[in-house]
Amino acid sequence: MSIGWYLAVSAIVFALGAVGVMTRRNPLVVLLCLELMLNGANLALIAFSRMWGNGDGQILAIVVMTVAACEVTVGLGMIVALYRRKLPIDVDELRELQG
């Protein structure tokens, strides 16, 4: 399979994740869609790594996974804190930062 097929899959996954981030209102699902976008980027990184034949892209993919794990940890902590304060679990209802 040529690299183009992998890049097409990566682009589709990234676009689906972006659509999810913009349309869904549950912050849990928004976080999941962020994961989708990061995974699309990861697939592209590993495809390019294979194309060049060195491991730099794979290292970058592992770093991206680390950052995604950190983002999930902090995001889920924020969601749990929202739930504890009896705030609505809905990104449209949370407009305190809108100014």
């Binding site: 994740g17 999810g20 495809a47 592992i62 983002e71 940890t73």
Partner: protein, 214 residues
């Protein structure tokens, strides 16, 4: 064979992504993301990134998704709760289908991990592995990745570990309970040496049962 596998994995990944975006219940979105991650790991294997594929399945689809499932179960989704739905499904006619699906998914996970391990670990132990990787230090194996991480990308490795530490501390600070003892929790408090070490109003029963000061 590789083209066939590519299309199966690509369709699985894309349908999993569609499921994450489309499904109403966040619990099912998490499950769709798990299937998406496993399909993506197959794509990584096709690209000879064996170590990254194994990390994807074990760490991402395993640990991170378990965290998601716990938080979804804690916060609760839209509509009915997950526990009721799973309980009803397990008792109904679809219980057998659920169990069969679980067995199939577990088998797929086992096969994927075996491919990753046979391609790398056995090859490193002896010379009689599956023959997927030409040598113990070939492209994409754990030895290759580890050598890169500890030589050329040492700074990135250390920064990532520090970032993980900060995220862990931040999550604990964000999700802990504020306050602790309130007015009707006035039992006789016993002082132990641990009390001097921990912050005030933490580690008590009132913290555990959800009393809040404010």
């Amino acid at each position: 064979m590789s083209a066939f596998l590519f299309f199966v994995a690509a369709i699985g990944a894309i349908s999993g992504a569609v499921g994450v975006v489309m499904l109403r219940n966040p619990f099912y979105s998490v499950l769709a993301l798990v299937s998406h991650l496993v399909s993506l790991a197959v794509l990584f294997l096709l690209l000879r990134a064996e170590f990254v594929a194994a990390v994807q399945v074990v760490v991402y689809a395993g640990a991170v998704m378990v965290l998601y499932v716990f938080v979804v179960a804690y916060v609760g989704g839209e509509g009915d709760t997950i526990g009721e739905r799973l309980h009803g499904a397990a008792n109904g006619s679809s219980g057998a289908a659920l169990r069969l699906g679980g067995a199939v998914l577990a088998g797929a996970l086992l096969v994927e991990l075996l491919i990753a391990l046979l391609g790398t670990g056995l090859e490193a132990v002896g010379r009689y592995g599956a023959g997927y990787a030409p040598g113990p230090h070939a492209y994409g194996t754990p030895a290759y990745i580890g050598k890169l991480l500890l030589t050329r990308f040492l700074l990135a490795f250390e920064v990532a570990s520090f970032l993980l530490l900060i995220a862990a501390v931040g999550a604990v600070v964000l999700a802990r309970r504020r306050g602790g003892l309130d007015e009707d929790a006035g039992e006789e408090a016993r002082i132990t040496p641990l009390d001097l070490l921990r912050p005030k109003h933490t580690g008590t029963t009132a913290e555990g049962v959800g009393r809040r000061a404010l």
